[in-house]
Amino acid sequence: MKIFTRFGEFILMIKGMFTKPENWRMYWKELMHQCVELGIGSLGIVCIVSVFIGAVSTLQTAYQFVSPIIPRSVIAQIVRDTVILEFAPTITCVVLAGVVGSKISSELGNMRVSEQIDALEIMGINTKAYLILPKITAALITIPMLVVLAMTLGIWGGRFVGEVTGILPHEIFDRGLVEAFVPYNVKFALTKAYTFAFIITAIPAYFGYNVKGGALEIGRASTTAVVTSCIIILLADYVLAAVLL
């Protein structure tokens, strides 16, 4: 029963975000602030994760390709498709669920416990609209951009490692990259990115916004938010793959 109650509360929270802003300029300022916080703030970790994922993909794919019949350029095709279809959107967003999710949850939880949310309510501000909507919107703007960056860096990481280790010269890797390329895969990856962006901001926002208690509960809410976001990302990943591919 608790899961239905929480789902109902979540829907009401989302519904409550859509009211006319008290001051458009202040909401815009908050949105820009969140774009910097979520987007620029996550840039470093996304770059590191994606380069290594691409590099490891090249090494492991090459390791499994022992047959001389299969051309080496197929390694690049596999790296490209796995990075675009799965690693860039899913792994990046699972990592971001930890980074961004815990930040959002603890920030809102702290604001709730220290009565800052109540102070905003007293001023006549719709706190759901002012505190949560800019975070979700900022994620919907920046996370797909980060996923595109992760795709690029992932493939570059694979190409770089192939060249450096001598497994796959870059001429062959580049040839493999354009062979049998399906543009729909990018569209599919972006669909996943938008879905996951919503999940990794809305769910932690729900847990943070509804914290009751003190510091201990903020920590608990943060952990629950990250775990729930990761599970729902994996679930959504499967559903999207089953429906859209």
């Binding site: 008290e22 102070a119 309510e121 001023m123």
Partner: protein, 270 residues
Amino acid sequence: MISITNIAKGFSDKPVIEGVSAEFETGKCNLIIGASGSGKTVLMKCLVGLITPDAGEIIYDGENFSHMNDDAKKIMRRKIGMLFQGSALFDSKTVEQNIMFPLDMFSNDTRGEKQKRVDMVLDRVNLNDAHKKFPAEISGGMKKRVGIARSIVLNPQYLFCDEPNSGLDPQTSLVIDKLIREITTEFNITTVINTHDMNSVMEIGDRILYMYQGKKEWEGNSREIIFSKNEKLNSFIFASEFLKDAKDMRMLEVSGKIDEKRNMDQLLNG
């Protein structure tokens, strides 16, 4: 004036406040006192709309707050200022930004006019050198004063203070009390204060509402409280021997018999 009629609120079928009715007068410091868990904070949160009461009506100068829709409540709340127990300052903003925030959100004034207003309220709470400091860099008393400055920056008609003296030393408490009293009379605000600070009760209690186990137990002013025969009130207010003695002295002082007692004491002590 704020009138409340038969306010009731419970959580998980457990009543927290039951049938509380009262009137909070304009230009006066209206105190809600009571032991911890007596329902003071819940009553105040009902008054400002942070909690919806299960029953009863809240009327702000003829406007029924209980029957307002969310939009009307939002507009009404712009006439309300609130000082929270922990000050509730935005910790990522400086003192100046904290006070500027309501102006940025709701005022169409120019930047210069807003800055003038911020300087004016900070001066009013005697904080002229804290503009660029963050809440973490200032003392508890200063935080309360910033909280007061933020709550009055939009010229509210109603000011709510939830335990304004909690965590403060007696001297700073007096400063905060004096400030609240001055602001109330100067701007003719209806001020409602939750407290269990006995200094506040005696110094600024124009009207006092004593809550006991979620119900209104006693109502009066700081003069009447001295002569009250209500046992629950007396055991709450004058809990220590020191306060009981202070009460006796105050009673004699108010009834003009203090000199008589002093003479008697001198005689007895030789």
